[in-house]
């Protein structure tokens, strides 16, 4: 029977093919040679070429995720200025949204034809894993040559520093430089605060009193939408900053040993945010409200406070004119106005890039003092030199807050940096906590167990 003979043959071929494939390729095994090559290349970088004019004709491939209005604008302006200054270098810009960049970056970095400059998120799941697999070039040699150590304070650099194996965050070598800073504070509606007769609160007690006053006056105390899960991290961090101290939060955030989620301060913070839900201090139905909708409602005059990051400055300023202010989270027991924050997604150099010197020159250029001015003009918060910029209104308040946070060392990391899966764990847990599905104790136990598991692995 020819039919059955064919079937047998096909079955045999398929089985043979399957075995060959399984035997031949353990995942990633074929990349090892490239990784070693990348390592060797970076080791020899002690005397780096810092004058891009001497590099000959170079096409520099840059992958960024600055697709939004003012942010895209500043990159375009800086790229143009760079090409004008160094005519031998042509920039090929590839711009993708954060999510798209993330999904394509993994493959791009491990390939031979890697881009020369990429924006790699400094979280453990991204930069940490890339560093652990030798896919990014450590920038310490360049930092020395260009003077980045003096230019960028330790607190800013630490956010893009990893140990060689990518396991320890916040220490080790520098792997990226960011253009912009970001902090998560409270925007407030100035005329509403005036009507209620309240000054921007500076302590936890004042803040809670302000919420109560606003609530009694029939105003919505805090505008909040938690349908997009990341919003919960900001809201919870904002409250935690008013109770716990900087070291505890930093240890928890960076996933370093020595702290605990079960401390009395964390318990108090967790119970406080739950009590705000019970009191009705958040938008009704916040669990089903999306992030953009929430801040747009705030801009329309619904809500006295809005907990959000500096990425909303340009939009809120435009929508509310002079009627919006920005403040650091109020001070709690620690006496410090700790603020969650960090840097925009840093620019890094893939280990497989063939134009590393030119790439470093580019990164230096887009983070230079001149660049910070361009960044300011396009409505963003420059990561350094904020105090020297000439701004007014909301932007000035934000710049002052950022400068103060830098001077007084108030910045604590985002909590989701802790472990590779912590973003997911925390966002889901906060949704459960605020929805009454998890008690404060269950919430903290849940976070503690993942934190401990990670810390013990180190």
């Amino acid at each position: 029977m020819p039919v059955s003979r064919t079937r047998t043959w096909i079955r045999f071929a398929a089985t043979a093919a399957a075995f060959t494939l399984i035997a031949a390729c353990a995942p990633g095994s074929d990349d090892d040679a490239d990784d070693d090559a990348g390592d060797a290349g970076t080791g020899s970088g002690t005397d780096v070429e810092t004058d891009p004019g001497n590099l000959g004709d170079v096409t520099l491939v840059v992958w960024d995720q600055e697709v939004r209005g003012g942010q895209s604008e500043q990159i375009d302006a800086l790229n143009e200025a760079f090409e004008e200054e160094y005519p031998n270098i042509t920039i090929e810009r590839v711009s993708r949204s954060t999510d798209d960049l993330r999904t394509t970056l993994r493959l791009a970095l491990s390939g031979d034809d890697a881009p020369d400059v990429v924006q790699a998120n400094n979280s453990r799941t991204e930069m940490g894993q890339y560093v652990g697999n030798d896919l990014l070039t450590p920038l310490d040699d360049y930092a020395e040559a260009y003077g980045w150590f003096e230019r960028f304070p330790e607190s800013v650099r630490a956010l893009a520093m990893y140990s060689d194996d990518g396991e320890v965050y916040g220490e080790g070598q520098l792997y990226g430089l960011a253009q912009m800073g970001e902090i998560v504070g409270a925007f407030y509606n100035k005329s509403k605060l005036d009507e209620l007769g309240i000054d921007p609160p500076e302590t936890q007690e004042e803040f809670e009193a302000a919420l109560e006053t606003a609530h009694e006056a029939g105003e919505l105390p805090i505008q909040f939408g938690n349908l997009d899960p990341f919003a919960g991290i900001h809201e919870y961090g904002f409250v935690q900053n008013q109770f716990a101290d900087a070291e505890t939060i930093s240890n928890l955030g960076f996933g370093r040993p020595g702290s605990t989620w079960l401390s009395p301060e964390n318990v108090e913070a967790t119970e406080t945010i739950v009590s705000w839900v019970d009191e009705g201090y958040f938008t009704e139905g916040f669990a089903g409200l999306d992030y953009d909708e929430a801040w747009q409602q705030f801009a329309d005059g619904e809500g006295v406070f809005l907990v959000a990051g500096t990425w909303l400055v340009a939009d809120l300023d435009e929508a509310m004119g002079g009627d919006v202010g920005f403040m650091l989270p109020p001070a709690g027991a620690s006496g410090q106005r700790l603020v969650t924050g960090g840097i925009s997604i840093p620019f890094s150099i893939p280990a497989n890039s063939e134009n590393q010197d030119a790439a470093a020159a580019y990164i230096d250029f887009i983070t230079s003092a001149d660049a910070m001015e361009t960044i300011t003009e396009t409505g963003n918060l420059p990561v350094v030199d904020a105090a020297e910029q000439d701004v007014d209104g909301l932007q000035a308040e934000v710049f002052d807050a950022w400068a103060r946070a830098g001077e007084e060392d108030l910045v604590v990391p985002y909590l989701d940096y802790a472990t590779p899966t912590f973003f997911d764990t925390l966002t889901a847990a906060v949704q459960d906590l605020l929805g009454g599905e998890r008690s404060p104790e269950e919430f903290l136990d849940h976070l503690e167990s993942e934190y401990l598991e990670h810390v013990e692995d180190q």
């Binding site: 390729c25 990633g28 095994s29 697999n133 409200l289 999306d290 929805g435």
Partner: protein, 354 residues
């Protein structure tokens, strides 16, 4: 007709040449990725460096990790919303419309019911996200009619988020089921209904004795498509809830994406994907075993015979002991659905019943 051994004058092996392009495409785009995935699923691998052999641990995780297992449970719930409810609704709508053939505006209704099927899922998801918003149209409607107590942040509600997502699936899938059933019912000879009416069958009996068995083939197709859609749901969850609140709406496809691209656990992601593929495969086979046999096998006929006998048992003049007529009814209906047998025969069967 006797099958001839092959086309005359042509070497038989040449046939393989004809299917070669298809085989190449299949192997390149389905076979190789599948085998590659199977390999990955045996490693703990972050998608970047070299993987570490873990055997079947990733599969164990799929069945023991409460979050991953939860995703499959949610998919089962979605099957109700994506397949069971739309198939039922589609049947009722189609049957109703078949009875009201000369209803004005019938074409318009048909278009309206099918419309959700035409709109891209992402657009559907964004639109429904707005509808479900705390101050959105749905809550607005509830409040307008005094049902303030029911208004809630649908997608942020731990109990209602999954049904809310499922309902969108119902809205989309009903159109598909409806159109399939309408096509199937259009092929049922009118004589069957006339005969049944002469025998005093009520609309309900007509539906269960004639219409339903006749569209059995379509039902199998509709269920196959919608169940697969339910198991594969991704876009609705990705756009509407991101799996929240607190993992209450995670589904297998979304977990595959999350594990591979967000968390960097490619091994777990591929294991999950393969388990999902296997489930889809098994479910499809089961549905087609039950439904698809209506077209050819004798296995389905026995069931139909019993069914028909029960329906017509009390009809005077009919002899339950000689099942020729009811059995023929079923067979004709199925054949009508498959469009294989000429109508004349069906017609004569109908007369025989009468």
């Amino acid at each position: 007709m006797r099958r001839r051994p092959g086309p005359p004058g042509e070497p038989r092996k040449l046939a393989y040449l004809y299917i070669l392009p298809a085989v190449v495409v299949f192997v390149a785009f389905i076979g190789v990725p599948l085998v590659r995935s199977a390999t990955f699923s045996l490693y703990e691998w972050d998608g970047l460096g070299s993987g570490e052999w873990v055997g079947l641990a990733n599969y164990a995780a799929v069945f023991t990790d409460p979050d991953l297992r939860g995703a499959f449970v949610h998919a089962l719930v979605l099957i109700v919303f994506y397949a069971v409810v739309p198939a039922t609704l589609g049947l009722l709508l189609a049957a109703t419309m078949m009875r009201a053939r000369r209803m004005p505006g019938l074409g318009l209704f048909r278009v309206l019911i099918f419309l959700p099927q035409v709109v891209p899922m992402v657009v559907v998801a964004i639109a429904w996200r707005q509808i479900y918003a705390p101050e959105g149209p749905l809550n607005g409607l509830l409040r307008a009619v005094g049902l303030d107590g029911l208004a809630r942040p649908w997608l942020g509600d731990h109990t209602w988020a999954l049904p809310s997502v499922g309902l969108v699936g119902t809205w989309v899938a009903t159109g598909l089921c409806f159109v399939l059933f309408l096509a199937g019912m259009a092929k049922i000879p009118r004589e069957l209904y006339e005969a049944a009416r002469l025998d005093g069958a009520r609309p309900r009996q007509e539906f269960f004795a004639i219409t339903l068995p006749a569209v059995r083939g379509e039902l199998a197709v509709a269920l196959t498509l919608t169940v697969i859609a339910a198991l594969k749901t991704f876009d609705l969850v990705y756009v509407m809830t991101s799996g929240g609140p607190g993992h209450r709406t995670t589904v297998p496809s979304y977990e595959v994406y999350r594990q591979a691209f967000v968390v960097g656990e490619v091994g777990t992601a591929t294991a999950l994907a393969l388990v999902l593929t296997a489930i889809v495969f098994v479910v499809t086979v089961i549905i087609n075993r039950i439904g698809g046999d209506a077209d050819r096998g004798s296995r389905g006929r026995g069931a139909r015979r019993r069914f028909a006998r029960r329906r017509f048992a009390r009809r005077p003049g009919s002899s339950p002991e000689s099942p020729a007529a009811p059995a023929a009814t079923g067979a004709t209906g199925a054949a009508g659905a498959a469009g294989e047998r000429p109508d004349t025969e069906a017609g004569s069967t109908g007369r025989r019943i009468g």
